[in-house]
Amino acid sequence: MRLELVPRASISPTLRAVAPVAAFVIAFLVAGLVIWILGRSPLAAFRVYMSDPLQDPWALQELVVKATPMALIAVGLSYCFRANLWNIGAEGQYVIGAICGGWLALATHGTEAGPWVLPAMLALGIVGGALYGLIPAFLKVRFGVSEILTSLMLVYVAQLALDYLARGPWRDPKGFNFPQSVTFDPSATLPPVFETGRVHYGATFALCAVLVTAFVLGYTLFGYRLRLTGDAPRAARFAGFSSKVTTLAVFAISGGLAGLAGITEVSGQIGQLQPTISPGYGFTAITVAFLGRLHPIGIMVASLVVALTFIGGESAQILLKLPLDLTTAFQGILLLCVLAADALVSYRLRFVARGVRA
């Protein structure tokens, strides 16, 4: 028997909407199988991963906190992916954003500098992330170097830079030799949205990014230009859209949003610089972007769903002694399923008996 792909005559919108959900269910079943092989009950795991966090108000807030950086990064990445450009170094741009914004927080530490510090930190985070994202973009448009490899290599460089700073020059001298900076002043800390709880204003930034992106993609020439560059590069050239300008623009946008995610995480959530400030948000955001079908609203929903697996993973580690690597593996399976489901939206599978000529 042979497998054959037959192009669909028309792409049904229902199928388009159902595909990511189906992919999630399949990925979930595969993960359940892995849990079963590891000798744990898949049903108990389901409860810990999916249902318990949704019933606990504390965990619901935590969900938003975890979803915030992923939504910010994934919305940025959707600009790149729509234009068929592969920025896979968002993790590095996130770290550089945290370093640039964090620098100001440390420089003004203890000086009572005033209310301008926080906005300036956020601006520095955006600029730093954008400039770092522009490196692979510039190498691509000027010298034709593949953006995939350079953006990824720069992740390692950024992580090592943060490691150096947090252990070396920026270490808190009174911190008992712990590799971490001083705790940021209140003027350099993003305040919480509600009186009680941990949701900080980063969540509102993510919401703004989602709404602005929905508008840009749906109603502006730039959004049209992105779609055209991705779907029909030749047509985009004939229309007079320079692919170089597009490349630089989308890398700057995605780098800037990743940088914003980095600095909001550090100033709203962690409160200081440490050698590690992310459980891989920059890479997980790739999964989030595709799970949300590269649409801002979809990405917002997807970021909450994936945040659930992070929180569930943490409690599963404690309650079921399931390692955190399971969450990583699940995210990999999920991305594979989402991409396969995406492809099956445009193609129909057909099984052909051996020897029969279709």
């Binding site: 010298f143 290599m153 999964t287 593996a329 990999g332 991409l339």
Partner: protein
């Protein structure tokens, strides 16, 4: 053994896994499939081979399991990108994420175990030569095997009929299909070969290079192997040269760290990654466009009737 001999020896052992993984990816890319999952396949190879070697107390079984793990990962990738014509860049990334997570699950029970070094093949007579004799003629079987594999891949791609088929499939899959060449079957075999090589490279890392397993021990080597393929302009001979240059850079960087030269260790650790970017940049400056890149690289193929 003098210090210089020791450094040369470690350069050879550091280069071998890079070369192995790069050779496999080179063949896959020559058939037109870009598999960014090398890092994940390598991590799975390292974890599975080490686990099997400890569990069965046999390095040979370990290596076989490592290769099998790489092949299975590659088969999953092939199902998605060849069977369902899914996006290759995204699927490759997913494979890397999956491999890093899954290898952590598989390797966890074996953290802290150690393996004895495997036997070296010493060529009598030649290894007694003064100077480089002991370095060049007394190595583990993987080193010789990898060098032989490089020659075989070079011969296969340029001198054999299936190699010609593979290259035409990668250069222009529509024409190759029109000529009646089996595009998807060729690509499947090439991807599986890439998986076997990456799995073997992972086995080498955990069974020979470090002789223990730790989470994330591949440390970006899979990505460097991917860069090596571009650097080598898709030619096996240049992959050999590139792998040894990168192996040397990695080892010298470690020695520089040990020598405490007043440079932050993180800067030296970043050197291989910066060197990769620099190498890709220099290569692109010298040639106007990516030289030797297969024409259909990364483009999904769906046969029409």
């Amino acid at each position: 053994m003098t210090t210089y001999e020791a450094i040369l020896l470690t350069i050879i052992t550091a280069s071998t896994p890079l070369l192995l993984a790069a050779l496999g990816e080179l063949v896959a890319e020559r058939s037109g499939v870009l598999n960014l999952g090398v890092e994940g396949m390598m991590a799975m190879g390292a974890a599975c081979s080490f686990g099997a070697a400890v569990a069965f107390d046999s390095s040979l079984l370990g290596v076989l399991c490592g290769i099998l793990a790489g092949v299975l990962m590659a088969a999953l990738f092939a199902l998605v990108v060849l069977g369902f014509a899914a996006n290759q860049v995204g699927s490759g990334l997913a494979l890397t994420i999956l491999g890093l997570g899954l290898s952590g699950l598989i390797g966890a029970p074996f953290v802290g175990s150690r393996r004895d070094p495997i036997a070296l093949i010493t060529i009598p007579g030649l290894s007694d030569l003064p100077g480089l004799g002991r370095i060049v003629f007394s190595q583990d079987p993987f080193v010789y095997g990898t060098l032989a594999l490089t020659a075989m891949v070079a011969w296969f791609l340029t001198r054999s009929r299936p190699g010609l088929t593979l290259r035409s499939v990668g250069e222009n899959h529509t024409s190759a299909h029109a000529l009646g060449l089996p595009v998807l079957k060729t690509r499947l075999l090439a991807v599986l070969f890439g998986g076997a090589c990456a799995g073997l490279a992972g086995s080498y890392l955990s069974l020979v290079y470090t002789r223990f397993w730790a989470p994330g021990m591949t440390a970006g080597r899979g990505w460097i192997a991917l860069a090596l393929v571009v650097f080598a302009a898709w030619r096996p001979g240049w992959a050999l040269v590139g792998a040894y240059i990168f192996g040397a850079a990695t080892v010298l960087q470690l020695h520089a760290q040990a020598a405490q030269m007043g440079v932050p260790s993180q800067l030296l650790s970043a050197a291989p990654y910066l060197a990769t970017i620099l190498a890709l940049l220099l290569l692109s400056i010298r040639h106007a466009r990516a030289v030797g890149a297969p024409g259909s690289l990364g483009v999904p193929f769906v046969p029409d009737r």
